[in-house]
């Protein structure tokens, strides 16, 4: 417990010290829409990865480079369903209370509910199978879901204004909140229900606003960005950082030496709804509880 507290404290100190520099860097490295090609041309450009680079600590260095494919591996065996990732993400990304559940949702699963099945009606009536308030429970396992930053994202294909796009440099599927007209076509096109819509203007207390992340206006779509403001600055996404059992891993899927690539080489992994041809960048492995650190 204290290890995590110290780590958190250190992160905040470093973050606070470098906030001005970081902010400027992020603004410059922020998704450039003015000179962007069409979103489709961009998607095609990333189809042929050229191999990523890595820094000494294995994390992605600052400013997106060509040929990087950011991805995440979640160890469902290790996940205890504490939802710390969910709430940390919410705080980090200025997700208001009116967006519920926030960008990350965590399911409580057992083998009567498959990855892509539906819980039976009787189970839902008896008390929701996939929502919960206490965890971990005996006989259950936990599966966090969020935007998978697909290689072949249906949401990007259907957007009528190009407000959502796949950045060719690091493979993140991002939003331009100024272009979005709120038609919600991307929301219905996403098979993972990963996207959220601002049905009302979200209220966030001024003192808790993270200045690195834009506060979204009413009527636009939002979702997990793999903490683009952090991961383009050599940091981990917030959810990965706060996980108390180290169930989350993040890195460059194109780099054969990255943490995520090594995990996927060593363990059977699956992606959700593979058959829908979305090519997610979010893998699930299960190494079991003995790997909880």
């Amino acid at each position: 417990m204290s290890n995590i507290d110290r780590r958190k404290f250190l992160t905040y100190v470093i973050g606070a010290a470098g906030i001005a520099l970081v902010g400027r860097q992020v603004a410059l490295a922020a998704p450039l829409r003015k000179d962007a090609d069409t979103a489709d041309a961009i998607s095609r450009a990333i189809a042929a990865p050229t191999g990523g680079g890595r820094t000494a600590d294995g994390l992605l260095s600052s400013a997106p480079r060509e040929g990087v494919r950011k991805g995440m591996v979640i160890d469902s065996g290790a996940c205890i369903g504490c939802r710390r990732c969910q709430y940390a993400c919410k705080a980090e990304n200025n997700v208001p209370d009116t967006i519920a559940p926030p960008w990350i949702e965590v399911f409580q699963m057992d083998n009567s509910v498959s990855f892509t099945g539906h819980p039976r009606e009787e189970e839902l009536r008896a008390g929701s199978t996939t929502s919960y308030t206490e965890s971990p429970k005996e006989g259950k396992w936990y599966m966090p879901v969020q935007c998978n930053h697909c290689e072949n994202p249906p949401c990007v294909r259907v957007c009528p204004t190009g407000a959502t796009y796949k950045d060719p440099r690091d493979g993140l599927v991002l939003m331009d909140y100024d272009r979005c007209v709120g038609c919600r076509f991307c929301v219905v096109a996403c098979p993972y229900n990963a996207r959220r819509f601002n049905w009302v203007k979200g209220q966030i207390p001024q003192e808790t606003v993270n200045p690195l992340v834009p506060v979204r206006p009413v009527g636009v779509v939002e979702k997990c960005t793999f903490c683009v403001h952090r991961t383009r600055d050599g940091k981990l996404p917030r959810c990965v950082e706060v996980c108390p059992v180290g169930a989350r891993h993040f890195g460059d899927l194109n780099d054969p030496q990255s943490e995520v690539s090594l995990l996927l080489k060593a363990n059977p992994g699956i992606r959700l709804l593979e058959e829908l041809n979305t090519e997610p960048s979010l893998w699930y492995v299960t190494r079991g509880r003995k790997f909880i650190k």
């Binding site: 069409t38 979103a39 489709d40 009116t98 559940p101 949702e105 399911f107 699963m109 509910v113 990855f115 892509t116 099945g117 539906h118 819980p119 839902l124 929701s128 199978t129 996939t130 929502s131 879901v145 249906p154 294909r157 259907v158 957007c159 009528p160 204004t161 190009g162 407000a163 272009r179 979005c180 007209v181 709120g182 038609c183 919600r184 076509f185 929301v187 219905v188 096109a189 996403c190 098979p191 993972y192 229900n193 990963a194 996207r195 959220r196 819509f197 601002n198 049905w199 009302v200 203007k201 206006p217 009413v218 009527g219 636009v220 779509v221 959700l272 709804l273 829908l276």
Partner: protein, 442 residues
């Protein structure tokens, strides 16, 4: 001499007298000459409903779409507004289809209701566009759809949709305007204010232009049929049918399914409008029962065919289907939405189509009023059916999110009612400004 029953307007020589001719001409522009108290009352009531709808819309604009019952990620992301859009957009074909039949199939008997249907097309397309604007989270950014059109037309079904709807609207409006000119020129000197408007619309008028305009009508009829398939059987269903993310939507049947629904609901709409106007303005001799006989038969058959498509769809979603499809089908056939489904299928489609087919097979049973009423029932059923297409799939996510529910709020129903009231109001205003019946060539 035989006692032949003669039209009192005809003299012995069989030619209309001057007065009779004037009376005959006046018959067709009755709406332009008299305005009854009922008309004003109805307009007033409609204006109130439309006003209330607009009030609810303004509330929604200032507070956001949270005033609706829609929700993400659990619940309906699209709701009654999109249902309304499909309903109005797919209804916008009847008029043009009827006119196409007149020109291409030489179905002259349908000619009197040609313009009634064309005006219906314009009004319903406008309401379809309005419904989309109402559904948008940021309607103030609507111009983005145009601004980024070149960028997105290659991939987004919504962009295709906007394109085809605009093309269809432009062609229909031009068609209506140009074919109406011969009636405008006939009455331009008769009216004061309206006459000035007519003269404005007669810009570039050439006596004898009717021949060229008839050729335009012929060519455009072909283009319109093509666009009907491209719109109702193409870009609109492909907003749903191309998405595997929503079981129940993802189907190659989507195109033909929506097209059939469009043909049925739009023909029913033309009959409803023609029937009401016929009764209201005593046009029983102008719009003969044969019009309703023919269109009623077509409606009955298309509706029956639609029921076959529905059966095929549900069978496919149930027999050995993937679980997500079974779950969606269960919701509609035996779950929460089943009362709506079965009432719609039996009372909304089954009985009306059966009656329409029976009264076609047995001409003695045919009755105009019954046909018009059944048309109205079928129209209402199609609104409900489209609700049953859009919403159920959205309530059953693929991932193990809890099942969603959707009970539209007062704001949503008010806005829906407002769009209907506005549509009727616009139509009623049109018939007071322009001749709604195509003038005879006497």
């Amino acid at each position: 001499m035989q006692m032949v029953k003669m039209d009192p307007r005809e003299d012995i020589g069989g030619r209309l007298t001057l007065i009779a001719r004037q009376q005959h001409k006046d018959e067709l522009i009755r709406p332009l000459l008299n305005t009854s108290k009922q008309y004003l009352l109805v307009c007033g009531a409609l204006a109130l409903i439309a006003g209330w709808g607009i009030y609810a819309w303004i509330l929604q604009l200032s507070q956001g779409l949270g005033v609706t019952a829609m929700g993400t990620p659990v619940g309906a992301t699209w709701g009654v507004y999109i249902v309304n859009f499909i309903f109005f957009a797919c209804m916008a074909h009847g008029g043009m289809a009827v006119s196409a039949a007149v020109h291409l199939l030489k179905a002259e008997k349908l000619k009197p209701i040609g313009r009634m249907g064309e005006v219906l097309t314009i009004v319903t397309l406008a309401m379809a566009g309005f419904s989309i604007i109402i559904d948008m989270g940021r309607p103030d950014r609507i111009f983005n759809m145009i601004r980024y059109w070149p960028e997105r037309v290659g991939t987004s079904p919504l962009t295709w949709d906007i394109t085809v709807i605009m093309v269809y609207f432009v062609l229909s409006a031009s068609y209506l305007w140009l074919t109406m000119r011969r009636d405008l020129v006939r009455h331009a000197d008769r009216f004061d204010l309206r006459g000035r408007l007519y003269k404005l619309l007669l810009i570039g008028y050439q006596p004898g232009e009717e021949k060229k305009i008839d050729r335009l009508a012929w060519w455009l009829s072909i283009a319109i049929i093509f666009l009907i398939v491209a719109l109702s059987g193409g870009v609109i269903p492909w907003i749903f049918g191309l998405l595997p993310s929503q079981p129940g939507w993802f189907s190659s049947l989507a195109g033909p399914y929506f097209l059939t629904a469009a043909m049925a609901s739009s023909i029913a709409a033309v009959m409803l409008v023609a029937g009401i106007l016929r009764k209201g303005y005593r046009w029983q001799e102008v719009i003969k029962p044969d019009v309703f006989r023919t269109l009623g038969a077509v409606l009955g058959l298309i509706t029956a065919f639609y029921m076959y498509l529905t059966f095929a769809e549900q069978l496919t979603m149930n027999f050995a289907a993937p679980r997500p499809e079974v779950v969606v089908s269960e919701l509609v056939l035996s779950g929460e939405l089943s009362p709506l489904y079965w009432v719609t299928m039996v009372a909304g489609f089954g009985i009306p189509s059966l009656v329409l087919i029976l009264q076609t097979i047995r001409p003695a049973w045919f009755n105009v009023t019954r046909t018009v009423v059944l048309s109205g029932v079928i129209i209402a059923a199609f609104w409900a059916k489209r609700f049953l297409i859009v919403v159920p799939s959205l309530l059953r996510p693929l991932l193990p999110f809890p099942f969603g529910t959707y009970n539209p709020t007062w704001a949503e129903w008010s806005i829906i009612a407002g769009t209907f009231a506005l549509a009727v109001l616009l139509y009623m205003l049109f018939i007071k400004v322009f001749p709604i019946v195509e003038g005879h060539e006497k």
